[in-house]
Structures are given as C-alpha cells and as structure tokens.
C-alpha cells in the first residue's frame, strides 16, 4: 500500500522540482504542507467563476459563493464528526482559534485564584494566550509534566487538575516529538473537575481520523495549511452549549442581527463569531483538501506515515551520536521526528541538508518551554506526510550521513 505514496506525490506539482541541484525532498510538513493540484484548481475556479461576498447578496454570484462557503462548513463538520454545522467556526488558523478562546473564556469562566492546566509539550500558540489570560486575571497556569520518553505523565495530569481548574488546554499531537496524547482520558479528567477541555489539533487532524464527539472535546482547534489546504484558514470547533455561553471577540459586518446606536444583537451560531468578510476561498480550498484526504482515507494516511517511520527508525538508530526525542514505541507517534547529532548544531545541519535537497526544520519549533524541559537549545526536525515515500526516507538518511561526515571529518 505504501507504493501508493509515489502516486499521491504526483498530485503535488511543487514536489517535482530541483533544489540546490538535487531533487526536492520536503520534510517540513509539521510547519506547513504542500497543496495538491485539485486544491489549487478549486481556488482558481472560485476566483474565475464564483467570487462574490457571502451572506448579503441576492445576485447569482453571491448565492454561489455563499453556498460554496457553507458547503465547506458542512464538509468540515462531517470530517471531524461534529454534531451540527453551527459548531464549526472558520478562523485564520489554530493560533487565532486559541486566542479567541482565551479571550472569550476570560469573562465566562476565570476568576482570580483559578487554575489553567496546559503541558510542557505545548506549542507557543497554546501557551501564551493562556499565560496572558492568567496574568490578566491573577489565575495560575500549571504545566503537566512529561515522562522520560516524552508522553504526558498521566499521574501528574491527575495531580495538576484540581477543584480550582477551570480550563484544560492540551495538544492532541506534539509538533516536536510526534507523540499522540490520550485526549479522551484527559477530557474525562477535566470534566470530572468541571473544567472546559480545549484541544490543539493542528498536528492531529492532518494525519489521523479525528472525531470530536468521541474525544468529548469542548473546543478543538486546527489549521487548514497543515492539511493540504491554503494558508489563512482554520477551524474552531465548539460544543453548542459552550459557543452559546461565550461572547464573540471580533465585531463588525456579517455577525450582527440588529445594530442600534447604543447596543447590538448578534446573529445565531456560527455566524456570530465570524465578523467581516471571511476567507471564502480559503474555506473552499480547505473543503477541497478534505475531499482529497478522504479519497485516500485518514486511516491509510496514518498507517502510511507509521510505516515510513518504522522503516526509517532503525536506519537512524545506526547513526552514531544521533539522539531522537520522544516515544520509543512507534505506535505512539506520528511522522514527526525531532533529533540532534552530537557535535553539530541543528542550524548547521539544516543548511547542509538543504544543499542535499532535503528540507528540514531547525530551531525551537515554537516550543521554548519544551526545549528547556529537554535541556536542548534547539533540535532538527523532519516531519513526514502522505506524499513522502520510502525513497524520501532513504535520501534523508543518506543526506544525514553525508552531513555528519562533512562536519565531523571533512572540515579541517
């Protein structure tokens, strides 16, 4: 079945190019994914034939744009198994989704002295909104610790969640270690303390089947651009009872019911949260990306990534001085691999890999608390997706060996 990835790769024109005189091997998918031609075509078709503003025109193009935009919402709803389309809000991405939430929940659930629980493996976008909320409200921000191999320490999670805990916000999948967190178990824990459960799904939704009902998440955020869709479009799913409790963060056109001189009323869900002209083409592109992912199947994508990682790991372990961060059990992780080679700074490594045509990331991956926790200023990171083949994995290993040889033996 993994030979299919050769076929899938052909759907992504950008991957068929030479970089620094070498065929491109794109392994920075945790940062952003590439787009299949069908998504690019959907964007072009929209602008060539249907472009208009949504929800306020009576003319034909406005009707077409509105119906495509709302159909996209239904596509997302079905994809994540939300109960109704009113629970699917379009945002600019995960960061916006989480910032909206932190501001909306501030007045609804947080009092001075209350606690917010996150973990040491969170992306900055799931730390700073809560940290600033805690500062504004004199609340306490608590971090769930990690086990030695990079899992959430569930015993510690039980300790961190107390009667004072009002918000629990955790990542579904780590963007550094690829570890998959037991969200349902954590949601049950949060709910047992009457806390609201927020999930950062940016690294999960692109790579595995996600069912927000089964996870029992109160809110679930993700980004379009990491799942073959365009940049600037993302989703905030929220249970209806929660979305009805919180207030919109942005005000303006499209979201109002009635505007008076001193007060206004809002449209019903989901539109009360979507002020201004939304990213219409982005939503349509995201829906097309979901169609594409569903044609392949999320189960097939997940098992493909796991097979590539299982193929790759023994080869990596043979490279002396190479450390991999995160779970040793390959069934607990996605296709994200953070690593370091002793004696080579990840920035130097990434430059050399680039000369070999292999695109990897180097740095703190927007996870400075995790880097401190791992006692690493930075790591290199390779992240795989459906279009990465076994041949990509081989080229990655070859480039790593050449890079190591260059820095450790080739410089003097």
């Amino acid at each position: 079945m993994t030979f299919q990835s050769e076929k899938w790769k052909k759907d992504f024109p950008i991957l068929n190019q030479v970089v620094n005189d070498e065929p491109l091997v794109y392994l920075d998918n945790a940062a952003t994914s590439q787009k299949p031609e069908v998504v690019l075509d959907a964007l072009k078709t929209y602008y060539l034939t249907n472009n208009a503003n949504v929800h306020r025109g009576v003319h034909t193009l406005a009707e077409r744009a509105t119906s495509q935009y709302e159909n996209a919402r239904e596509t997302v709803r079905r994809f994540i198994n939300a109960r109704e389309t009113a629970e699917v809000l379009f945002t600019r991405g995960t960061t916006t989704s989480l910032n909206w939430l932190a501001q909306s929940l501030e007045d609804t659930v947080i009092e001075p002295g209350d606690e917010i629980v996150i973990s040491y493996m969170e992306h900055h976008s799931n730390i700073i909104p809560w940290q600033q909320l805690a500062k504004r409200k004199q609340a306490k921000l608590n971090y769930i610790e990690l086990t030695e191999d990079g899992h959430l320490d569930m015993e510690n999670a039980r300790k961190q969640m107390t009667e004072k805990t009002k918000i629990v916000s955790l990542t579904h999948v780590s963007n550094v270690m690829g570890v998959v967190n037991p969200i349902r178990e954590l949601a049950d824990l949060a709910h047992s303390k009457n806390a609201v459960m927020v999930v950062d799904g940016a690294q999960a939704v692109p790579h595995m089947p996600v069912d927000v009902e089964a996870l029992d998440a109160d809110f679930y955020a993700f980004s379009g651009h990491k799942m073959l869709g365009p940049t600037g479009i993302g989703v905030l799913y929220g249970k209806r009872n929660w979305l009805e409790r919180i207030e919109p963060i942005e005000f303006g056109g499209e979201m109002i019911d009635f505007v008076g001189l001193q007060d206004s009323t809002w449209k019903e869900l989901p539109w009360k949260f979507e002020a201004g002209t939304p990213n219409i083409s982005g939503a349509i592109g995201l829906a097309k990306a979901i169609d594409y992912l569903e044609t392949i199947g999320m189960d097939a994508i997940m098992s493909h990534e796991q097979e590539v990682v299982k193929y790759l790991m023994p080869k990596l372990e043979k490279i002396e001085g190479l450390t991999i961060y995160g779970p040793k059990n390959l069934n607990d992780r996605t296709g994200v691999i953070a690593f370091n080679i002793e004696g080579i700074h990840p920035h130097d490594l990434a430059t050399a890999m680039d000369m070999e045509g292999v695109a990897v990331r180097a740095g703190h991956h927007c996870t400075q608390p995790l880097m401190n926790y791992l006692s690493q200023p930075a790591t290199a990171r390779a992240s795989f997706y459906l279009y990465n083949t076994f041949s990509d994995a081989d080229k990655f290993v070859e480039a790593l060996i050449a890079t190591k040889e260059f820095f450790l033996n080739g410089l003097d």
Binding site: P346, H347, T351, A352, M355, E356, G357, G363, F406
Partner: protein, 156 residues
C-alpha cells in the same frame, strides 16, 4: 557531491574560530554587557565589554550557538578590540552589509570577519552571522543600566 557547495560557507578560518573561539568567557571589569537571543533558534549570546575613554579595552563573549554565530562572535572580538565605540559601530554596519553581499568600506579592519561574506549566499543564515554584532550594537546603546549609558555614568 552537493555538500562541496558548503565549503564557501564553512571555510577553514571560520571553522577554526568556531572550534577555538577567541575571548570566550567573562570579564572582571565589565562596563557594558548584553544578552541577546537569536529568535529563530533560541541561541543566546552574551557580550561583555570593558570600555575606557570611549575605547574598547577588552571584550568577552559567551553562550551557545551554531558554527556561524560562534565564529562570527570570535571574529568580532578580534575586530573591535582597541577600537573607539564609533569605529566599532561603523564596523558593525560594514559587516551587516558584507553578509548581505555588499563590499565593506573597511575590509582590513574587519579582519577574519570578511571570511563570512559567503553567508550572503545562504540568506537563512544571515541572522546567525549578525547576532553577535547586533548584541554589540545593543550593548553600546542600551539604556536599561547595563549598556552604554551606565558606562558613561560610571566614568563620570
């Protein structure tokens, strides 16, 4: 082999500076000091200066970093030692242009640092090369009590 292209970046002089950095450590008589982060990778560099009568009498740097930022810090300490503050800031400007492909005005004064001109072909690494120089600029202009202003007061 594609990695041969790396030789224009990782020249022998650069690798030597990074493996055997000059003036790495701390000073006893520090008059100006700054810590600076490279936001793209989290690397931190500390620069300590001993300034007397507007002249950089001594300098040390410390911190972790890639080959390029360590070499650049080491080369910078060579270049600015004994220079006036104004001369040091001019060199910083020169260096910033150099790593973006411009010809420096005072090539001789930059010393080994000119070897980093190859960085211009690796735009993602320009920040690594300029990090120590940006730290120097900040140390010479900072007003929070650890920089140039405090050094002036110290002299008064």
């Amino acid at each position: 082999m594609a990695l041969t292209k790396l030789n224009q970046l990782y020249r022998a002089v650069i690798v030597d500076h990074s493996k055997n950095p000059r003036r790495r450590g701390t000073l006893d008589n520090t008059t100006a000091q700054i810590d600076m982060k490279n936001p793209t990778c989290g690397d931190v560099i500390q620069i300590q200066l001993e300034i007397e009568n507007d002249i950089i009498k001594d300098v040390r740097f410390d911190g972790s970093g890639c080959t390029i930022s360590l070499a650049s810090a080491s080369m910078m300490t060579d270049a600015i030692l004994g220079k006036t503050l104004e001369e040091a800031l001019c060199l910083s400007e020169d260096f910033s242009g150099l790593v973006q492909g411009k010809d420096p005005e005072n090539e001789d004064d930059l010393g080994d640092a000119v070897m980093l001109s190859g960085v211009a072909k690796f735009p993602a690494r320009i920040k690594c090369a300029t990090l120590p120089w940006k730290a120097l600029e900040k140390a010479l202009s900072d007003k929070d009590g650890t920089g140039f202003d405090s050094q002036l007061k110290h002299d008064d």
